[in-house]
C-alpha cells in the first residue's frame, strides 16, 4: 500500500513547482504563480495525509511497534565501501508526523500568502522560494542518511536565507538574511564535523546502521568510546557537534541570535520557517539520533537538556520586554523549542522512560499549529496596521474579529490552558521532567508562567489596551480585516490549535515505536495551569487598559529589564567577536601579509635582481684595457681554482 514513488511525489511536487516558477515564473506565470504553488502543495499534503494514514493505521505496525521503512534507496555519492551518501525515503512515526506538519502548515501559508503577498513585484519568486523551502524541508524529514539530512539541512538554510532577504532592497533584511545564514552555517560546521566523526567511527552514514552499531555492543561503538580527544570520547564529540548543528538551526542559546532578526522576512515565511518547521529541525535531528544519545551517551543528552531549558528560560525573559510583535513571537518560538529540546534531554529510551521523547514530539506537533497561527494572526495585524510595533496597535478586536478570536485561541494554547492543545503537550513534558530531573522541572514551570504572561501581554497590547488610531491615510483603513485567503488558514489552524491536544499522541510516536499510552497526572497538571493563569492575570492587570504599571515594573527591575530588552547583549558580543577579532585580528592581517609579505617577497626577488644588475653595470666600463684585465683575471682565476686549489 505504501509506494515509494507516490511518497516521492510529496517532496517532488514542490520541487517541480519551484523549478517551474523559478525558471519561467517571473516572465510568464507571475499571476498564476500563487495558484501553481498552492495546488502543488495541496496535492502534496493530500498525499502525505494519505501516506500517514496508511502508515499509522494500515501498514506501519509490526508486532505492536511501528517499524522504520526505507524506500527508494539509491546511492548519491559513494566514499568507501561502507560510507556512502544514499538518498531515499525513511518512513517512521516521527517522519510521518513531520511530513504532515510540513505539508499542512506550508499549505496554510501558501493559501495565506495569496492574500498577504498580493501585488508584490516578485510574487512568482516568492512562491518559488516557498516551494523550494517546502521541498527541502520534506527532503530533510524523510532522510535515510545522516548526510542526506545535511544536504537538505543546507537547502532549508538557503531557502530561509532567500526568504528572509526577500525584501532585498531593505538593508536590514539583507543583514538579517546574512546573519541567519552565517550563524546557522557556523553551527553546520559542527554538524559536518560531527558527521565526519560518526561516519568514520561507525563506518556508515546510514541512520539505521548507524543507530544499530552505536547502540549495541559493536566494535565500532567500543572504538568510538575508546578513542578520546581533549577528555571526551569520540562518540561524545560526534554527538555534541551534531547537536551543535541542531542547536544552530533551532536557535538554541548561544546560537539563537539570528532568529529574532529573521523576522525581517515576510510574515507568512516566519510562520512557516521560523515557527513551525525549519526551526524544529534541530529537535528532529536529535530525535532522529535519539537512541544513540539515550543509550550510548547520556552525557551528551544532558547537554541537550540543559541547553534546552536554559534557552527556554532565557528566551522567555527576553520575550517579556520586546515591543516588536514578531520578535516577541520569535523569542517565544525559541523558548518553546527549548521545551522540546529539554524534553528530549530528560527522556530515556524505550517504554515508560521514553515519555519525554513522545512529549517533545507532541509539543512539536501542537506548537507547529498554534505558533503558525500566531504568526499568521500577527501577519494579519501587520497587514492591517502596517507596523510591527505594539505601540502602533491596540483595540484591534473590533476591527479584526476573526483574527482576534483565533489569536486568542492560540494564546490560550501556548499558555497551556486546558483544554487547548498546548496544555496536553506541556503537561507531558513537565511530567517527564519531573520524573527525571527536578531542577529542570522547576525552571520549566517558571518558564510556563512567563510564557503565559508575555503571550497575553502581546494579546492585550494588540487587541485591547488603547484605542486604535490608524497612522496612515484613511484610504488604508478601508480594506477591512483581511481577504478570505488569509482568514481561511486562520480558522483552520484555530480549530487545530484548539483540538490537536486530543490526539493520543503517545500511541503513534514514541522513542521505540511501541505505543505509549498517555497517562494523565492531575497533580502534575495543576501547577503549570495555575502558574499560567497567574501569568494571564498579571498581563491582564498590566496591559488590559493603558496604565503606567508596565513602566513602573520596568523601573523596578531596571537592570534585568534593560538586559532583557537588549537581549542580554549577545548580539554585541558576537559583533565584537566578528568585527574586532575575526576581521581585525585575522582578516586584515591575512590581507596585509598577502599584500606585503607574500607578494612583497615576489617583488623583492624581482627588485633584487634588478638591483644586482645595476650593481654590476660598472663592469662593462667601455675601457678596452679593463676588459683585457678581466680577461687576464679570468684566466688567472680559473688557474687558481682548478690548478692550485682543486686536486
Amino acid at each position: 500500500m505504501i509506494s515509494g514513488s507516490t511518497i516521492a511525489l510529496i517532496p517532488l511536487l514542490p520541487l517541480a513547482s519551484f523549478l517551474l516558477l523559478g525558471l519561467f515564473g517571473r516572465k510568464y506565470l507571475s499571476s498564476a504563480a500563487g495558484w501553481i504553488g498552492t495546488l502543488s502543495l495541496l496535492a502534496s499534503s493530500l498525499i502525505s495525509l494519505a501516506t500517514a494514514y496508511n502508515y499509522f493505521f494500515v501498514s506501519g505496525k509490526v508486532n505492536g511497534a511501528y517499524q522504520q521503512i526505507t524506500l527508494l534507496k539509491h546511492t548519491w555519492l559513494a566514499f568507501t565501501p561502507g560510507v556512502s551518501i544514499d538518498m531515499g525515503l525513511l518512513l517512521d512515526p516521527v517522519s510521518m508526523m513531520m511530513i504532515v506538519i510540513v505539508t499542512f502548515v506550508s499549505l496554510m501559508v501558501h493559501i495565506y500568502s495569496l492574500g498577504y503577498m498580493k501585488g508584490e513585484e516578485r510574487f512568482a519568486t516568492y512562491y518559488a522560494f516557498l516551494s523550494l523551502f517546502t521541498f527541502s524541508m520534506l527532503g530533510l524529514v524523510l532522510s535515510i542518511n545522516i548526510f542526506q539530512i545535511y544536504i537538505f539541512w543546507e537547502l532549508v538554510g538557503v531557502s530561509s536565507f532567500l526568504l528572509i532577504g526577500y525584501y532585498f532592497d531593505r538593508p536590514s533584511a539583507v543583514a538579517a538574511s546574512k546573519k541567519a545564514f552565517i550563524v546557522t552555517r557556523f553551527a553546520d560546521l559542527g554538524f559536518l564535523i560531527g558527521i565526519l566523526i560518526l561516519a568514520f567511527g561507525a563506518h556508515t552514514l546510514d541512520f539505521k546502521i548507524l543507530i544499530e552499531r552505536l547502540t549495541t555492543s559493536s566494535p565500532e561503538l567500543r572504538g568510538m568510546i575508546g578513542s578520546s580527544f581533549l577528555g571526551l570520547s569520540a562518540l561524545t564529540w560526534g554527538l555534541l557537534l551534531v547537536f551543535a548543528g541542531g542547536a544552530g538551526k533551532s536557535a538554541m542559546f548561544p546560537l539563537h541570535i539570528w532568529l529574532p532578526d529573521a523576522m525581517e522576512g515576510p510574515t507568512p515565511v516566519s510562520a512557516l520557517i521560523h515557527a513551525a518547521t525549519m526551526v524544529v529541525a534541530g529537535v528532529y535531528l536529535v530525535a532522529r539520533l535519539f537512541p544513540i544519545f539515550a543509550i550510548s551517551c547520556p552525557g551528551a543528552l544532558h547537554v541537550v537538556a540543559y541547553v534546552g531549558v536554559f534557552s527556554s528560560l532565557f528566551a522567555a525573559v527576553i520575550a517579556c520586554t520586546q515591543t516588536d510583535i514578531k520578535r516577541v513571537l520569535a523569542y517565544s518560538t525559541m523558548s518553546q523549542i527549548g521545551y522540546m529540546m529539554f524534553a528530549l534531554g530528560v527522556s530515556g529510551y524505550g517504554g515508560e522512560h521514553g515519555l519525554g521523547f513522545s512529549a517533545s514530539m507532541f509539543h512539536l506537533f501542537t506548537h507547529a499549529m498554534f505558533k503558525a497561527l500566531l504568526f499568521l494572526g500577527a501577519g494579519a495585524v501587520i497587514h492591517y496596521t502596517h507596523s510591527n510595533e505594539m505601540q502602533d496597535m491596540g483595540g484591534l478586536r473590533k476591527y479584526m474579529p476573526v483574527t482576534h478570536l483565533t489569536f486568542l485561541v492560540a494564546c490560550l494554547a501556548i499558555a497551556g490552558v486546558p483544554p487547548f492543545s498546548g496544555f496536553f503537550s506541556k503537561e507531558e513534558i513537565l511530567s517527564a521532567a519531573y520524573q527525571n530531573n527536578f531542577p529542570i522541572y522547576v525552571i520549566a514551570l517558571f518558564t510556563a508562567g512567563l510564557t503565559a504572561f508575555y503571550m497575553f501581554r502581546l494579546y492585550f497590547n494588540i487587541f485591547w489596551n488603547k484605542e486604535f488610531h490608524s497612522h496612515h491615510d484613511s484610504s488604508d483603513g478601508h480594506h477591512g480585516e483581511a481577504p478570505w485567503t488569509m482568514k481561511l488558514p486562520l480558522l483552520i489552524l484555530g480549530v487545530l490549535a484548539f483540538g490537536a491536544g486530543f490526539v493520543p499522541f503517545g500511541n503513534f510516536v514514541s522513542s521505540d515505536g511501541a505505543a505509549l499510552p498517555a497517562e494523565f497526572h492531575l497533580a502534575l497538571a495543576i501547577p503549570p495551569v495555575l502558574l499560567g493563569l497567574f501569568g494571564i492575570a498579571l498581563a491582564y492587570t498590566m496591559y488590559k487598559t493603558e496604565n503606567d504599571l508596565p513602566n513602573k515594573t520596568a523601573a523596578l527591575f531596571h537592570r534585568l529589564y534593560q538586559g532583557a530588552y537588549h537581549k542580554f547583549y549577545i548580539d554585541e558580543v558576537y559583533l565584537f567577536i566578528t568585527q574586532k577579532i575575526i576581521f581585525n585580528l585575522i582578516g586584515r592581517p591575512s590581507a596585509w601579509v598577502d599584500k606585503n609579505i607574500v607578494d612583497g617577497a615576489v617583488n623583492l626577488s624581482a627588485n633584487l635582481t634588478e638591483d644586482t644588475s645595476g650593481l654590476i653595470r660598472g663592469w662593462q666600463s667601455g675601457k678596452m684595457q679593463q676588459y683585457a684585465l678581466w680577461f687576464f683575471a679570468g684566466v688567472m682565476g680559473i688557474v687558481a681554482v682548478f690548478i692550485c686549489m682543486w686536486h
Binding site: 653595470r617 678596452m624 676588459y627 683585457a628 679570468g634 684566466v635 680559473i638 688557474v639 690548478i643 682543486w646
Partner: protein, 469 residues
C-alpha cells in the same frame, strides 16, 4: 692525394671561388651595386645548394684537414646563416659604397671558420681562427664614418689579438708537452699534468673569448653595438656557431683525458655566464646591445649542453645552433630593416610596433619567444635538449640554476614583446616596406622557428651525424 679527397674541401673551394668572382668584379668595376648584390645572392644560393650535394668524408694533408658528415652539416648551417644575413641586410647594403668588399670580407671570414672547424691540427686551427677574425675586425669598421663602428673594430681587433696571444701561449705549452700539433697525437700523449692543465686553460680562454663566456665576454656588447647590424648578426650567430663546433671537437677528442677538469670549468663558467648575461640583458635599452647580452646568456646554456659530453650533447648543441640561427637572425633581420629605414634601435622606439607593422612585430616576437625557449617555437626544444644533455651528468645544482635563469630571461624578452604589443606611444613608427629579399629571409627564419621542433626527423638526423665528430 686524389681528386675525390679534394672534394672533401668543396665548401672551402666553393667559397674561395666566390671570393674570386667578387674580387674580379670589384677590379673590373663596371657592375653597379644592384648587379653585384644580385650576383652575390645568386652565388650564395648556389653555395648553399652545392653544400648538400656529394659530400666526401676523410682526412687530407696528413690529417690537418678533416671532413665528416657532421662537419658538412655544420657548414651547411653556416652557409644558410650567411645567406640569411646577406638577404636581410639588403636595405643596408643596397647603397653601400663598398659592397663587393663586404661580401669578400664576409666570405673570407666564413672560409676561415670552415678551415678552423675542419682542422685536425693546432696550426690549422690557429690559421683558420685568424682568417676568420681579421676580416671580421675589418667588417666591424664597415660604417667608416661612424665613431662607434671604428671603436667597435678597435676593441675587436685589440682584444682578439690579446686573446690569441694567450691562446698561442697555451698552444706553445701543449707543443712543449707533446711535441706535436696534431689533435690525435696530442690526445694520445696528454695525461692531465699540471702543465697540460695550464695549457688547456689558456687555450680554453681563447675559445671562451670567441664564445663570449664570462668573464671573457666584455668586448661582446660594445662590438655588437658598434658594428653594422649584418656584422653583428654574423658575429653573434656564425662566428659563435663555428667556434662552438670546433670547441666540441677539441674538448671531446683532444682533451678527453682531462674530462673532469674541463667539465667543472665548463659548469662553473656556464653558471656565471648565464647569470651575468641575464643580469646585463635586463637593463639594456639598445636592441643590439640587448641581443649581445642575451646571446651571452644563451652561450651559458650552450656550455651546459657541451658539458654533457655525449653524443646527445653534440647533437643538442648542433640542433640548438640550427634553431639559434633562425631565431636570432630573424630578430637581427627585423632590427636591420627598422634600423636602416628609420635609424631607430632602442627598445622604446619599438613601442606600438604591432599597430603599425604587424608583420615585423610578429616576426620579432616569434624570434624572441624562440630565444626564450617558449613553445611552440623551436627554441623550446633546443634549450630543453641542451639542459637534458647537460643533466645526464646528474649535476643538479647546475641544472636548477639554469632552469631558474629561464625566468629572468623570459622577463627581458617579454619587455620587448610588451613594448611592441602592449605599450602605446605618441610617436608610432611609420609603416615600413621591405623588399622581397628580406621577405625571403624572414620566411626562412619563421619557417625554421615554427617547424623544426615538429619535424621529428631533424633531431634524429643530427643525432645520427653526431656519432662521428
Amino acid at each position: 692525394m686524389d681528386l675525390s679527397l679534394l672534394l672533401a674541401m668543396k665548401f672551402e673551394l666553393m667559397i674561395t671561388l666566390i671570393i674570386f668572382i667578387l674580387l674580379f668584379m670589384k677590379i673590373d668595376g663596371r657592375a653597379n651595386n644592384q648587379t653585384v648584390i644580385r650576383i652575390s645572392y645568386l652565388l650564395l644560393f648556389l653555395n648553399l645548394g652545392f653544400g648538400f650535394a656529394g659530400n666526401v668524408s676523410g682526412e687530407i694533408f696528413n690529417g690537418m684537414f678533416r671532413s665528416t658528415p657532421l662537419l658538412a652539416f655544420q657548414k651547411n648551417i653556416l652557409n644558410l646563416a650567411t645567406l640569411i644575413i646577406a638577404l636581410s641586410s639588403y636595405e643596408w647594403l643596397r647603397n653601400h659604397k663598398h659592397l663587393p668588399e663586404f661580401f669578400i670580407l664576409l666570405l673570407s671570414s666564413l672560409l676561415g671558420m670552415f678551415f678552423m672547424m675542419s682542422s685536425g691540427n693546432l696550426l690549422m686551427f690557429y690559421l683558420g681562427l685568424e682568417l676568420s677574425t681579421i676580416p671580421l675586425a675589418a667588417l666591424c669598421n664597415f660604417d667608416l664614418h661612424k665613431k662607434i663602428s671604428s671603436e667597435a673594430a678597435m676593441k675587436m681587433i685589440l682584444s682578439s689579438a690579446f686573446s690569441s696571444a694567450i691562446l698561442l701561449f697555451g698552444i706553445s705549452l701543449i707543443y712543449g708537452a707533446t711535441g706535436s700539433f696534431d689533435f690525435k697525437v696530442i690526445t694520445s700523449v696528454l695525461t692531465g699534468t699540471t702543465l697540460q692543465k695550464l695549457a688547456f686553460i689558456l687555450i680554453f680562454s681563447g675559445f671562451a673569448f670567441k664564445l663570449s663566456v664570462v668573464p671573457f665576454h666584455l668586448w661582446t656588447a660594445d662590438v655588437y653595438e658598434g658594428s653594422p647590424i649584418a656584422v653583428t648578426a654574423f658575429l653573434s650567430v656564425v662566428s659563435k656557431a663555428s667556434m662552438s663546433f670546433i670547441f666540441i671537437t677539441v674538448l671531446y677528442t683532444t682533451f678527453i683525458s682531462m674530462a673532469t677538469t674541463w667539465y667543472y670549468v665548463l659548469a662553473t663558467t656556464a653558471v656565471i655566464t648565464m647569470i651575468v648575461g641575464n643580469l646585463f640583458a635586463l637593463r639594456q635599452t639598445n636592441l643590439k646591445r640587448f641581443l649581445a647580452f642575451s646571446s651571452i646568456a644563451q652561450v651559458g646554456y650552450l656550455l651546459i649542453g657541451i658539458s654533457g659530453a655525449s653524443q646527445i650533447g653534440i647533437a643538442s648543441v648542433v640542433y640548438f645552433i640550427l634553431i639559434y640561427v633562425f631565431s636570432n637572425l630573424a630578430a637581427f633581420g627585423v632590427i636591420s630593416v627598422i634600423s636602416s629605414l628609420t635609424g631607430k634601435e632602442t627598445i622604446s622606439d619599438y613601442k606600438g610596433l604591432y599597430a603599425s607593422n604587424p608583420a615585423l612585430a610578429l616576426i620579432m616576437a616569434l624570434s624572441l619567444f624562440s630565444l626564450a625557449g617558449i613553445p611552440p617555437t623551436a627554441g623550446f626544444f633546443g634549450k630543453l635538449f641542451l639542459l637534458t644533455a647537460g643533466a645526464s651528468i646528474l649535476n643538479w645544482p647546475l641544472i636548477i640554476i639554469a632552469s631558474l635563469n629561464l625566468i629572468v630571461s623570459l622577463y627581458y624578452y617579454l619587455n620587448i614583446v610588451r613594448a611592441m604589443f602592449i605599450d602605446e606611444t605618441d610617436e608610432p613608427m611609420v609603416k615600413l616596406n621591405f623588399s622581397t629579399n628580406e621577405a625571403v629571409a624572414f620566411f626562412m627564419c619563421v619557417a625554421g622557428v615554427l617547424s623544426i621542433g615538429f619535424l621529428k626527423g631533424v633531431f634524429e638526423f643530427i643525432f645520427g651525424l653526431s656519432s662521428v665528430l
